[in-house]
């Protein structure tokens, strides 16, 4: 997250926004261009279609159905089908008149077309069922993946924020140790430290008392992921003006020096 130093009364909002955008670019790394996004969208779905995890034989069955040369027709259109009737007299009259009818038009193409159509219908029904199942599964999987991606993205965001905070806190601590006048070297473990005298029980008790006293002077508890915790750097800067003013981040940084004024109370 952005860590800006405000050193003077003149705030340039555009400059702050430029800093923020630069930082976002640095964090995000490589950006997809519009053309690249369009190219990705044009890639055919088949390249990614994998039956694993959807249904083991779904894709094979789908392809087999497509490759079937002949299917069983649901109706068989013969020459007589159009003239069929369950009443004998009607069948007889139609058969008698059939030659006359054929003088007017050719019935055979019609019968062929209906025959083929029936075949296509039967295939279509079977394919529809498979397609429905395929799409249904894909939708489920896509939804599940979408949710997973969202969750992962949130986790990454969260981790990123916390890492950012930790880095900043570490820098602040390093800065305090490095720059504080008359700073003592960092505390080392008291046990099994070669070349260093083991402190007495009284010294340890005194150190604990001092630490408790320092902790007692600190205002409020820190918030996870919030830079308020940077007050732990021990530079004595208050992290919050009052209950309604925001947390202080940059003030806790030792490199902000004395130019950054301490926060004051808000209007209320």
């Amino acid at each position: 997250m952005t860590d800006m130093q405000i050193r003077s009364d003149s705030v340039d909002v555009e400059q702050i926004m430029r800093q923020i955008r630069t930082r976002i670019r640095e964090k995000r790394g490589v950006d997809y261009t519009e053309e690249e996004i369009k190219e990705l969208a044009r890639v055919k779905l088949e390249k990614f279609l994998d039956p694993t995890g959807v249904r083991s034989d779904l894709l094979a069955q789908f392809r087999r159905t497509n490759a079937e040369p002949d299917g069983n027709p649901n109706f068989n259109f013969e020459n007589t089908t159009l003239f069929h009737s369950r009443y004998g007299i009607v069948r007889f009259i139609r058969r008698m008149l059939q030659p006359i009818l054929k003088l007017f038009f050719n019935v055979n193409p019609l019968i062929d077309a209906l025959h083929i159509q029936s075949d296509l219908n039967a295939r279509g029904f079977r394919r529809d069922e498979l397609q429905y199942e395929l799409i249904h599964n894909l939708v489920l999987e896509t939804t599940r993946l979408g949710i997973q991606v969202k969750n992962l993205k949130m986790q990454v965001d969260s981790m990123s924020g916390r890492l950012d905070f930790d880095e900043r806190r570490a820098r602040a601590l390093e800065g305090v140790v490095q720059y504080r006048p008359g700073a003592v070297p960092p505390l080392q473990p008291t046990v099994s430290a070669p070349g260093r005298a083991v402190e007495t029980e009284a010294q340890a008790a005194e150190r604990r008392t001092r630490r408790r006293r320092r902790r007692g002077r600190r205002p409020g508890g820190g918030r996870d992921g919030m830079p308020q915790g940077s007050g732990d750097a021990g530079n004595g800067v208050e992290t919050r003006g009052d209950a309604d003013s925001p947390r202080v981040a940059s003030e806790a940084r030792p490199d902000s020096g004395g130019s950054a004024p301490a926060p004051t109370s808000n209007v209320e």
Binding site: M1, T2, M4, I6, D9, S10, V11, D12, V13, E14, I16, M17, I20, R21, R23, I24, K27, R28, M154, D157, S158, S160, G161, R223, D224, G225, M226, P227, Q228, T239, R240, G241, D244, S245, P246, R247, V248, A249, S250, E251, A260, P261, P263, T264, N266, V267, E268
Partner: protein, 428 residues
């Protein structure tokens, strides 16, 4: 001096942006001139249904004359006509039919404005029936307060002659002026960027708000109608992601009536419509104000937040809000989630930045939007217009045949051709 303030709706309990603006201006000008408000009987801006009685009544000491609306708005018809004139080549007749469909159509109101002996008539909201027809009838008396947003209506051909012919224009922002001057080439019309003031209390009580609404965590505030058109859907999406990133970060408090569903989230608190006192107390208690709207001609709540010393986080795709943030040096803006998170985090966590922005906001409000400044700008403009003779005449409408010729470009295309972006480099 006799002044009229003509606005589509008016009332002490009507809090729409332009309507409230009109009421404030009428009440502030009343001590300096004889002011009469001329409006309709409508209360609802969607239907324009006649709900208030016609005739004269007094609201906060100002005489208000109401006229009935001829017909309610048919949303389907209006939507169809809007789609046509905004997105297709069309005719002047189509635009006039669109204007009538939008309403509130009240011919008696326009007749009254034209016939009554007013010295000047303030016409609020250029896109409504009363403002367009009154400006055409009495251009020499008409002072337009356009309250124009960057939406396709500004690209309709019927409005450009009005922008060129009224006596003066009181703009809300530099961006609004740049947009209208680009579309109408009316730089020679007397104008001033004035906006509107607000009665910001000097002592708002943050603790009272926290006690009353039992909110003890730090929070950002949104004030206004909770509506998709105000950018609230995007705000909720962004804030939920932000909340997931910072589990103990700032909360979001919403004030205003909701016409979309507010997410059920432990860190989003919807308090509904509250009184002005509670609103200002809430602003005082808040860390910052968020303005997610894409379209604003002037955000009064942003000005109020600045007046109370709080920084604003605005949607950077709204030129006006972005421009105000830059000019005031009192707010940040975002155009994506990443920017939203970074800017909100900065305002939440960076105390010195927060305080500088808040202080700048208060200075900006006092310098440009306090009532004495606003009143002075209005009175100076009236004085100037009284001295200068009216010289412009309005261009006549095309003839019957020409009016029906489909030769006007889609309004959205016109708008797309207008330069956009924040206007920087102005002190006021």
């Amino acid at each position: 001096m006799r002044l009229a303030v003509a606005v589509q709706r008016y009332g002490a309990d009507i809090n729409g942006g332009a309507e409230l603006h009109a009421r404030y201006i009428a009440e502030r000008l009343a001590p300096h001139a004889s002011v009469e408000v001329v409006t309709t009987c409508a209360r609802d801006y969607v239907t324009w249904r006649n709900e208030l009685p016609p005739g004269v009544e007094t609201v906060n000491g100002i005489p208000v004359r109401r006229f009935p609306v001829a017909h309610e708005r048919d949303p389907l018809d209006f939507g169809r006509r809007s789609e046509h004139v905004f997105n297709h080549v069309h005719s002047t007749a189509d635009e006039l039919a669109w204007l009538k469909s939008e309403g509130p159509a009240s011919r008696p109101m326009v007749d009254y404005l034209a016939s009554a002996p007013f010295d000047f008539v303030f016409l609020f909201s250029y896109r409504y029936y009363h403002a367009y027809h009154a400006a055409r009838r009495i251009p020499a008396k008409a002072i337009l307060v356009p309250t124009a947003e960057r939406d396709p209506a500004v690209g309709l051909g019927i409005f450009a002659p009005v922008f060129r012919s009224v006596r003066a224009i009181m703009y809300n922002s530099h961006e609004e002026r740049a947009m209208i001057q680009a579309v109408a080439s009316n730089a020679d019309v007397p104008s001033v960027v004035v906006g509107v003031g607000s009665d910001v209390p000097t002592q708002a009580d943050a603790q009272r708000f926290r006690r009353k609404f039992k909110i003890d965590r730090p929070f950002a505030i949104y004030v206004g109608r909770i509506d998709v058109n105000k950018g609230c859907k995007e705000l909720f999406g962004f804030f939920r992601r932000y909340a997931a990133t910072f589990p103990n970060g700032i909360d979001l408090v919403l004030l205003g009536s909701a016409i979309m569903q507010v997410p059920d989230h432990p860190r989003i608190h919807h308090l509904g419509f509250v009184s002005d006192a509670d609103k200002f107390d809430a602003m005082a208690a808040a860390d910052l104000l968020i303005m997610p709207s894409y379209f604003e001609s002037l955000s009064m709540v942003a000005l109020e937040a600045w007046g109370i010393g709080k920084p604003v986080l605005a949607n950077g795709r709204c030129d006006v809000l972005k421009g105000q943030c830059i000019r005031s040096r009192a707010g940040l803006y975002y155009e994506s989630y990443e920017e939203f998170a970074e800017t909100l985090y900065s305002l939440e966590s960076n105390g010195p930045l927060h305080q500088r922005l808040g202080r700048n906001g208060r200075d900006y409000f006092n310098a440009h939007y306090s009532w004495p400044v606003i009143e002075r700008k209005y009175l100076d403009m009236l004085e100037r217009l009284r001295r200068e003779p009216a010289t412009r005449t309005i261009e006549p409408l095309p003839g019957w045949m020409a009016r029906r010729r489909k030769d006007l470009p889609a309004a959205a295309d016109v708008l797309a051709g207008i330069p956009s972006g924040a206007v920087v480099g102005h002190a006021s």
